[in-house]
């Protein structure tokens, strides 16, 4: 089984630990990732805030490359990338005009039928039974709060993934691997996302709320499937502790981290040792 792979800027940059984790984990599952040839940035919030056309064109270029190179599906582990790709795709699907215009803009013909997948969907396609079959270490020590953030499920009509108010797909996978996910209330609350640079106060406040709620519901770690969520909850956690005078002390794992651990990989090969908050 192999998948097309669109890492996006984050996984090649400051969230390369996520990239490492995804690679190691899927490798262990016998999945081959075929990275998109000369992909470009999806534009993220900046594009859709400042230039509507650009917000369609940048992801459209990537979709067109995937079509050109014969990749029927594309794993985009970053939900921002994945949402931008899907948004472009549904805009393209909606009108012939748009397809023509943007084929012209991105200088490649585009149909818009690539199947864009997030990390959870890839794990689902690999199959719970397969993963379980390869697992060697139960995750029974882990009581994760599974955190979906905004863009894994929103906007629902574009993402068409899980229940946008009460998602449970990560819990399903982790529970199968022996973890005991907690029920909590901030699964889909926003952590402040792209405001990390521009407005740190918002990020600290929102992320603090999320960490606190996870703790109140007896989680001993948080699981994410998003590089931005990880930055805000992990890298910013020391700042949050300082600002709000508390000790959350909650390690934040990528979903692929925990699946990788269950598969018997060590923390180092998954890049967990490079996180800011480490398990004591």
């Amino acid at each position: 089984m192999d998948f097309g792979y669109y890492p996006g800027c984050a996984l090649h940059g400051s969230s390369n630990d996520y990239g490492q984790s995804v690679h190691s984990c899927l490798d262990a599952l016998g999945v081959e990732l075929r990275e998109l040839n000369d992909w470009i940035c999806c534009g993220a919030t900046a594009a859709h805030s400042l230039n509507h056309a650009l917000a369609l064109a940048l992801p459209a270029r990537n979709l067109a490359i995937a079509e050109r190179d014969g990749l029927p599906n594309l794993l985009a582990p970053c939900p921002m990338c994945s949402m931008e790709l899907l948004k472009a795709q549904s805009a393209l699907a909606a009108s012939d005009d748009a397809r023509r215009t943007f084929s012209d803009v991105v200088e490649l013909p585009i149909r818009g039928d690539t199947q864009v997948l997030n990390l959870i969907q890839v794990l689902q396609q690999i199959g719970l039974e397969t993963i379980k079959g390869k697992a060697v270490r139960p995750l029974s020590d882990f009581h994760p709060a599974c955190y979906y953030g905004c863009l894994l499920t929103r906007p629902p009509e574009t993402l068409r993934f899980d229940d946008c108010e009460h998602p449970s797909s990560m819990e399903t996978i982790l529970r199968e691997l022996g973890a005991q996910p907690v029920e909590w209330n901030c699964k889909t609350e926003c952590c402040g996302a792209g405001m990390t640079m521009a407005d740190e106060d918002i990020v600290l406040k929102l992320s603090h709320k999320i960490l606190s709620n996870a703790k109140e519901h007896d989680a001993n770690c948080i699981v994410v499937a998003c590089p931005m969520c990880h930055v805000n909850l992990d890298m910013k956690q020391p700042d949050i502790d300082r600002r709000y005078d508390c000790h959350h002390d909650l390690p934040v794992y990528y979903l692929s981290d925990l699946v990788g651990l269950a598969l018997g990989l060590d923390e180092r090969s998954l890049g967990i040792d490079r996180h800011f908050v480490v398990k004591r």
Partner: protein
């Protein structure tokens, strides 16, 4: 020689604004056969109609065209006016220059040109009209009422009291409907059961009423005045004739844990049960899915306890056929199923409110049972999760209604009132409690209605916040309600012990297949369609079938009852005649030309065409032909399109008329 009068209506400014009515009159006056053409401000008004009548007389008109609104609006009106002056009403045609012209085309020249053409078409049509006589059909003076809620009860009693036989069909084991489960009613706060149960008893005991409970309409045949209705009586496993309603059986039944549908799952019941103590008939049924006898093949306690020997485990569904002349549909409503109904793209509505996840988030009918003296808590307000008395309750309006994205686009109309009532009932029982209401608008039109809502706010201190709630979560046994008060422009979070969602009213399950059996139309939401929103509010387009209550649209008890009486009135008007007059715009076979291929017989949706034989005086077969049963034909014209030799035609829409209209086009 045709002498057609054309009457062009201004409809105030509605038509005159975009159509130059005077110019149109001048132009159409030139058309062949037009004797006079004139415009007037309001043609449907009394003076307008008088004008038409006067011209019919003075100009010796042989047909008239009224160019005004949709024929669905006023064709009847103008036909009546013509008839009053002695002109056959079927010599009246309309040109729809309002809905199809002035309201949709804003270029005056274009609209005027089109109006003239529409009138020309109508003139062409009316020239081919001929006088028709209504068709007389016999009436069975016996009515069927479908649904035994307050509307059905009212309609049945009114008809029965007038001296006619009524058959009532109710799907549940008892009549009473939703009202039987309500606590107190707005705006008087009188007890729902106290008003309703005596009426239920009246139905049960009325000599003119035949009651089929736990029964459903299976099929409907026939037509206006002559329906044959097959009713399926579901197996009760209790012989109603033998049973005395003593209660020994349900008191002894060991299976006690079935959620009570009557209590909206807020309480439990036994496997053999009456839905509520005041049930009519006060006879139990056995729920096969809960009964140990059926599930495990043992038990039989009820049969042992029953001294009347009324328990019959071998009972089967049976069918009865009732012949009736009129049908009243009063199938009522159900609540929008929060979190269970899917919108267009398949997402489930209102996950954000946690209904079904958090036990203390309930809907309004569940709250009714919670405050009802006959409810599972005996009228004490105790929340489902832990039985505590909730000190803060949040009521959320417009759940499922006025919500195109997740629910139904319409306003459910009664929720504002019942929510105000709920806050009052709550405050009357929990004096130190706080009731918050999140609302978008307060719609309290009705006698003493707005006063009632003000009382909830001013006297009982309900906290009303204008804004919708975005999310409900649960922390430490309390519900965190994240809303907004748009009037102060601030987000607002309330910690509540209980949340009540004012869920929308929508038609009861199964109304659509029923409507199809009855040939009654319904709208996209499943509400049954009345013939005319203003002038024929309880009639339907299926002759002899009437509607009342919430199956026709959201409404409260007084309105339902009023409409039920209106429907009963219409039935009685029908029953006041020995024979009924039917619109003659139906199919007619040219029997001489008919080649008797009988394609029409195969196609007719009403089996209204039969194979007939024409014989000479000696009884020899001359020819065979198709023939229309005037009582059954509804005038759809399917036969006309299928007949290769056009040996069948439909009055009012004849081949000649349609071609004349086409020919008249420039």
């Amino acid at each position: 020689m045709a002498r057609i009068g054309v009457f062009i209506c201004w409809c105030g400014e509605n038509i005159a604004r975009n159509v130059d009515v005077e110019q149109a009159a001048t132009q159409v006056a030139e058309l062949p056969g037009v004797a006079c053409a004139l415009a007037y401000k309001y043609m449907c008004s009394d003076p307008g109609q008088s004008l038409i009548r006067q011209k019919i007389a003075s100009e010796h008109l042989t047909g008239i065209v009224v160019a005004s609104c949709s024929p669905h609006m006023h064709l009847r009106t103008f036909r009546k006016a013509a008839a009053a002056e002695g002109l056959n009403p079927y010599l009246v045609e309309m040109a729809n220059i309002r809905e199809h012209c002035s309201w949709v085309h804003h270029d005056r020249a274009e609209a005027t040109a089109k109006a003239v053409e529409l009138i020309r078409m109508a003139v062409a049509k009316v020239r081919c009209d001929h006088a028709l006589q209504p068709i007389a059909i016999p009436v069975t003076r016996r009515a069927l009422v479908i649904g035994g809620g307050v509307a059905g009860i009212q309609a049945a009693l009114d008809i029965a009291d007038a001296g006619y036989q009524v058959v009532v069909v109710e799907r549940e084991p008892s009549i009473g409907g939703k009202m039987a489960g309500l606590s107190e009613t707005f705006p008087t706060l009188d007890c729902s059961q106290c008003i309703l149960t005596p009426r239920m008893v009246d139905v049960g005991q009325h000599p003119n009423i035949t009651l089929h409970t736990y029964s459903e309409v299976e099929s409907v045949e026939g037509y206006l005045g002559n329906f044959k209705v097959t009713i399926r009586k579901k197996a009760r496993y209790v012989d109603v004739a033998k049973c005395t309603g003593c209660g020994q059986c349900w008191n002894a039944c060991p299976s006690k844990k079935t959620p009570s549908a009557f209590d909206y799952n807020m309480g439990t019941r036994t496997a053999i049960y009456v839905p509520f103590p005041q049930a009519v008939p006060a006879r139990p049924v056995i729920d096969r899915n809960a009964c140990l006898h059926f599930l495990k093949g043992k038990c039989g306690v009820c049969a042992k306890k029953c001294q009347a020997g009324a328990i019959n485990y071998e009972d089967q569904d049976t069918s009865v056929v009732e012949e009736v002349g009129a049908v009243v549909v009063a199938t009522g409503f159900q609540l929008y199923q929060i979190g269970k109904e899917r919108n267009g793209d398949g997402t489930v509505g209102y996950g954000e409110y946690g209904y079904g996840e958090y036990p203390d988030v309930i809907d309004s009918l569940q709250f009714e049972r919670l405050v009802s003296a006959s409810g599972p808590t005996g009228g004490e307000i105790r929340r489902p999760s832990d039985g505590q008395v909730p000190k803060t309750v949040v009521f959320i309006s417009c759940v499922g209604s006025r919500d195109n994205a997740k629910g139904l686009s319409y306003c459910s109309k009664i929720c504002c009132m019942y929510t105000a009532k709920h806050t009052m009932l709550y405050k009357h029982k929990v004096h130190d409690g706080t009731a918050h209401v999140f609302y978008m608008d307060i719609r309290a039109g009705g006698k003493n209605y707005d006063e009632f809502v003000r009382r909830a706010i001013e006297q009982d201190g309900a906290q009303y916040h204008r804004g919708r709630v975005s999310k409900i979560t649960q922390e430490n046994g309390r519900l965190i309600v994240r809303g907004v008060d748009t009037l102060v422009g601030e987000p607002l979070t309330v910690e509540a012990d209980l949340v009540v969602l004012a869920s929308a009213m929508r038609p009861a399950d199964g109304v659509e297949p029923l409507a199809q059996k009855l040939n009654v139309g319904y709208d996209e939401n499943g509400f049954l369609s009345e013939s005319h929103p203003k002038l024929r509010p309880v009639e339907t387009n299926a002759a002899g079938v009437f509607v009342c209550g919430a199956c026709q649209g959201p409404k409260d008890i007084p309105e339902s009852v009023a409409q039920a009486t209106a429907a009963a009135g219409k039935v009685l008007v029908m029953f006041g005649h020995e024979k009924l007059a039917r619109e003659p715009e139906i199919a007619k076979v040219n029997e001489t030309n008919c080649a008797a291929c009988f394609t029409c017989v195969r196609a007719c949706p009403y089996t209204a065409i039969e194979k007939a034989e024409i014989r000479d005086r000696k009884g020899n077969l001359v020819k065979r032909t198709a023939r229309v049963n005037q009582g059954l034909c509804m005038g759809c014209g399917t036969c006309v399109a299928l007949c290769p030799s056009k040996s069948v035609d439909i009055e009012g829409f004849t081949e000649q008329q349609v071609y004349a209209m086409l020919e008249s086009l420039e």
